[in-house]
Structures are given as structure tokens and as C-alpha cells.
């Protein structure tokens, strides 16, 4: 029997605010333990939390970018549970009146567009971090307590690991573009929870679901889903029931294991947070947020295809990150060769970034330098091959491409008389190639060109060299 996979996701994203959600402690990552803490985020009695206005704005902007309805009236609630990472013993969240509801995100799967429903987006605070490095206890770091989050909840519209990954990447891009979250995976600022069940193909009845929390990379997300779907199908085929539970994904071992049974359902006893007053947004304010939305990835992609005549693939790659798109646009503004700029950004630059372990934002050169490099290829000063060597040099230091070419003496040999001498000698030395050409084997031209490039260390202007080779061979054949 074949099975359908049914997946709903919850995505937690840290908002890019400077201060926490209800107090003025910094949200900066990587501080010493418990140095970003105050009576409010420590949950001491008698404090009065006040919501950060940017949190409301960012949540509304995220909702608009994901095609949600923004509520005119929403409020905060207390979600009660005991855990040491939560000093207040409740998490301030939103229950029945979240700030955003009913959105859609379209993803491209195998050339087809598929809508994924967004059930809701709500505002909440993050919990602290538990450190398990003490021999006889657990240590709590409260720096992350009260860092603002949005939780994006989807409809169970996702049907494969691949779709989940594409969807998650799209959400990450959108949040990054709108500037509401920096989405740094390595700092845990975006995390994925997966609810997954399987059912006989075509059946209308949903199977029992399991939950996997806090997957923090696209790869972990994809692998965890593949594993869990396979596990559930194997269990069902053996006639075993699926137990509703939370499972923990071990990314190193590539397996998941049961964490706690959900049979004893959580009873969070939500109630309205009396210390925080309702959030009321007027239609005018919501419209203003909408008007201020930046160009989103799919709009940008469509524009790149239309305005720059780029292939769909290029447009997709360039717009997959806000920073790559920015670099592309700034470079194209200086040199009107969109396809060439695209090739450098898609093909030549990424391996260097990977090697240096830096992002495009940390490049040691600027759009004007890339434009200068491309201009030198265009005007014949250097060949494409030499340009790649120049790029390697550009990654090493702060020199501009022109200075590098000058210093290294890499400018192309475009002096016909100088080239003629070299080529005449090569033609003399390779009578076999000349004979091959005479008998109709044009491929031998390639060999001669190679010899010329070798003799000139790749600096011969290829177009000019070709012309001279053909002239000299013809003279020889007569």
C-alpha cells in the first residue's frame, strides 16, 4: 500500500529588535550568561512589562508579506507551564486573538506552483537556555528569556520533505527581505517544528501525528521528515499503531527517538495577560505597513527576468538572498551586463565565499570592483580565464582589479606584431597540425591556439590570436 504524508509546520523566528519584548535588556547574541537580565525578564514579582512597539510592527509586516489578514484587535495571553527555562512559569504569548491569521505562501515544486496555507502568526517571548555542563545540576541562562519571536503556524498542506524545505527557505527569505528577522540559522534565530502523520493514499482520514521540535537547519528539517515518514509507514505496515508523541531528532546519528508521550495532554490554562493591554491597529496603520513593504523575492525575481532579461534560474538564485540581490543590483547599475554579473555572482564567487567561510556581506571588495573586472573583460584587456585569477587576488586583499592586472602584468597581448612573431614560430614547429588542417581537420586549429596560449601564459587576446593563426596557416598551405 502507498501512503500520503501530511505535514504541518510551526516556525519560530526571532525578531530583529535591539531590545527584548517587554523590557529594555539587549537581545544581542553571544553575551556572557545572565548579563542581559532584569526584574521584568527574570519574572520577579511586582514588575510591569510593556510591549516593544517594533515587535508589533515586525509581526504585522511579516503577516503582510505572507498574505495574512492583520487583526485590528489582538491581545497577549499567559500560557502556563513549569520548566526551568521559564522563570515566570508562564510564557507570554497570544492565544485566541493572534495578530495575523489566514495567509498563503506559494512555493514552486518541480515547476508547479503550490499554495501552503498559513493558519496564524502570533507574537510571543522566547524562553531561556538550559546548559547541561554542570556535574550535579542544570544551569539556566536567562539572556534569551523575553527575546521577541513570531510563531508561524501552517495548515497541514505540506506533503513531502522537499516541499517542507522549499517552504522553509521561502519563509526565511521573506522574513529576511522584510527585515523583520535576521534569520541566522547558526544562532538559532529561526527554528522549525514539524507535525507529521501518514495515511493510506487518497484516504480522507488523518493518521496519528508525531511532533519534532526545534529543527535548526534546512538539512535537519529535510532528513528528520524523511526519517519520520519512513518510520511511521514501516510501523503501520507491521500493524503497529502510531503513538502520538514528541520525538527528538538526532542530526548526528540521523535518527529520532521518543521524547515524551503526548497522551498526558498539556493543559496550559491560557488566560488574558492582565499586565499588557490590547493591541489595536487601525486600517490606516495596517495600510501604511503594507505600503512600506520592500520588494519581495518573487516580485524581484519577476522584475529581473523582465528588466534584465535574465533566465528564470539566474533570477531565482540571485534573489534567494537579499544580500546577493543587493550586490547584483549595485553592480549592474555600474555596468550594464546583467548576464555577466549574474554568472560571476552565481558561479565564480560562491566557491571563494565557501572557502573563506564568509557571506556576501563580508566580501573584501565592492560592487564597483566587480564592475571594473567585468569591464576589463569586455574591452579585451584581460581574458575570462585571467579574470578568474584576478578574482582570486581580489579575495586576498584590498586591491582593485585594475591595479592587480597592472602589477601582475596580466593584460592581454593585443599587439598584433608581437603575436605574429610568436605564432609564426609555433606554426613552423608544428608541421603536423598544418598538414592536418590542409587535409580538412579543422580541429588542429584548437591545438595551435592552445600552444599560443601556453607560450603567452594565457595572455594572448584569443580573438586576435585566432585571426593570426588562420592567416599564418593559410600562408603555409598556400
Amino acid at each position: 500500500m502507498d501512503y500520503d504524508i501530511v505535514i504541518g509546520m510551526e516556525i519560530h523566528a526571532e525578531l530583529a529588535t535591539k531590545s527584548k519584548i517587554f523590557c529594555s535588556c539587549s537581545t544581542e547574541f553571544g553575551a556572557e550568561e545572565n548579563t542581559h537580565a532584569c526584574p521584568v525578564c527574570l519574572g520577579l514579582p511586582g514588575v510591569l512589562p510593556v510591549i516593544n512597539e517594533k515587535v508589533v510592527e515586525y509581526a504585522a509586516r511579516a503577516g503582510l508579506a505572507l498574505n495574512c489578514e492583520i487583526a485590528n484587535f489582538s491581545k497577549m495571553d499567559r500560557k502556563n507551564y513549569f520548566y526551568p527555562d521559564l522563570p515566570k512559569a508562564y510564557q507570554t504569548s497570544q492565544f485566541d486573538l493572534p495578530i495575523c491569521t489566514g495567509g498563503t505562501v506559494e512555493i514552486d515544486v518541480d515547476g508547479e506552483t503550490k499554495p501552503i496555507g498559513i493558519t496564524r502568526i502570533h507574537i510571543e517571548e522566547d524562553a531561556g537556555k538550559l546548559l547541561h555542563e554542570s556535574a550535579d545540576g542544570t544551569l539556566v541562562d536567562t539572556n534569551r528569556c523575553g527575546v521577541p519571536l513570531i510563531e508561524i503556524v501552517t495548515e497541514p498542506d505540506i506533503t513531502s520533505a522537499e516541499e517542507a524545505k522549499i517552504f522553509a527557505e521561502k519563509i526565511r527569505n521573506t522574513l529576511e527581505y522584510t527585515g523583520v528577522s535576521d534569520c541566522k540559522m547558526e544562532e538559532g534565530s529561526i527554528r522549525f517544528d514539524v507535525n507529521l502523520s501518514v495515511k493510506p493514499k487518497g484516504s480522507d482520514t488523518l493518521g496519528t501525528r508525531t511532533e519534532m521540535k526545534n529543527l535548526n537547519s534546512f538539512r535537519a528539517l529535510e532528513r528528520a521528515i524523511q526519517y519520520e515518514a519512513r518510520r511511521q509507514i514501516t510501523e503501520l505496515k507491521k500493524g503497529h499503531p502510531i503513538i502520538q508523541e514528541t520525538r527528538k531528532w538526532d542530526d548526528t546519528k540521523g535518527v529520532s527517538s521518543s521524547l515524551r508521550s503526548k497522551e498526558e495532554a498539556h493543559d496550559y490554562r491560557y488566560f488574558p495577560e492582565p499586565d499588557l493591554v490590547p493591541i489595536v491597529l487601525t486600517d490606516e496603520q495596517i495600510q501604511k505597513f503594507r505600503d512600506e513593504l520592500p520588494e519581495l523575492p518573487e516580485q524581484k525575481r519577476a522584475r529581473y527576468i523582465k528588466e534584465y532579461n535574465l533566465p528564470e534560474y539566474d533570477a531565482g538564485v540571485l534573489t534567494s538572498s537579499k544580500d546577493t540581490a543587493r550586490f547584483f543590483e549595485e553592480t549592474v547599475a555600474l555596468i550594464d551586463k546583467p548576464k555577466a554579473v549574474s554568472n560571476w555572482l552565481m558561479v565564480e564567487i560562491p566557491p571563494h565565499l565557501k572557502e573563506a567561510e564568509i557571506t556576501i556581506n563580508e566580501l573584501p571588495f565592492e560592487p564597483k570592483d566587480l564592475a571594473e573586472l567585468i569591464a576589463m573583460i569586455e574591452d579585451g584587456t584581460i581574458s575570462g580565464k585571467i579574470a578568474k585569477k584576478v578574482l582570486t587576488e581580489m579575495f586576498k586583499g584590498e586591491k582593485a582589479p585594475k591595479a592587480i592586472v597592472e602589477e601582475k602584468g596580466w593584460a592581454q597581448m593585443s599587439d598584433a606584431s608581437e603575436l605574429e612573431g610568436i605564432i609564426e614560430k609555433i606554426v613552423e614547429e608544428n608541421p603536423k597540425s598544418v598538414a592536418d588542417i590542409a587535409s580538412g581537420n579543422e580541429k588542429a586549429y584548437g591545438f595551435l591556439t592552445g600552444q599560443v596560449m601556453k607560450a603567452t601564459k594565457g595572455q594572448a587576446n584569443p580573438k586576435l590570436a585566432n585571426e593570426i593563426i588562420r592567416k599564418k596557416v593559410k600562408e603555409k598551405i598556400g
Binding site: 545572565n34 526584574p39 510591549i51 517594533k54 484587535f73 547541561h132 542544570t138 544551569l139 493591554v277
Partner: protein, 95 residues
Amino acid sequence: MKISKDEVKYVAGLARISFDEDEIDKLQSELSAVLEYADALNKVDTEGVAPTEHILPIKNVFRKDEAKESLPLEEVFKNAPDTEAGGFKVPKVIE
């Protein structure tokens, strides 16, 4: 009684409080009395009355997004029963 003994025990469990049987009997009648008192509200005709989402007639109290100094570490730990290596120390939590 508006509330059963089992419900009293369940609520006590959620609050991590333990009671003996006598206390549970007492709480059952006290909590039942509270719920019966609140039942009076059900007699009011609320047709056409908007639900009360929040008890205060105030809205939109916001803070500017400005990061300020946090508490010095010794203040943070002033009420902590135990600390280690810059962390609050609690009994071992097994994930």
C-alpha cells in the same frame, strides 16, 4: 458540588501543590462555592454585548525599541538559591 475531588487533585497537580484528603474535601467545597458565585453571571442577558477581551479600558501602551543596561550579575543572583559558572543552578533536567 460544582467540582469533583478528582478535578481538585488535577488542578493541584498542575500547580505542583500536594494536599491531604481533608484539605481536598475543604478545597472542593470552597472552589465549588467560588464557581457557583461566578455562575450568577450566566443569568445576565448578554445578548448584543461585546465580549470582554480585556479587563482594562486601555489600549496600545508601547515601549520604544531601545536597549538599556541590564542588572549587574550580583543583583541578578541575589535571590538565587544556587549558582554555578554564571548560571542559575537548578536540579538536573533530563531532556
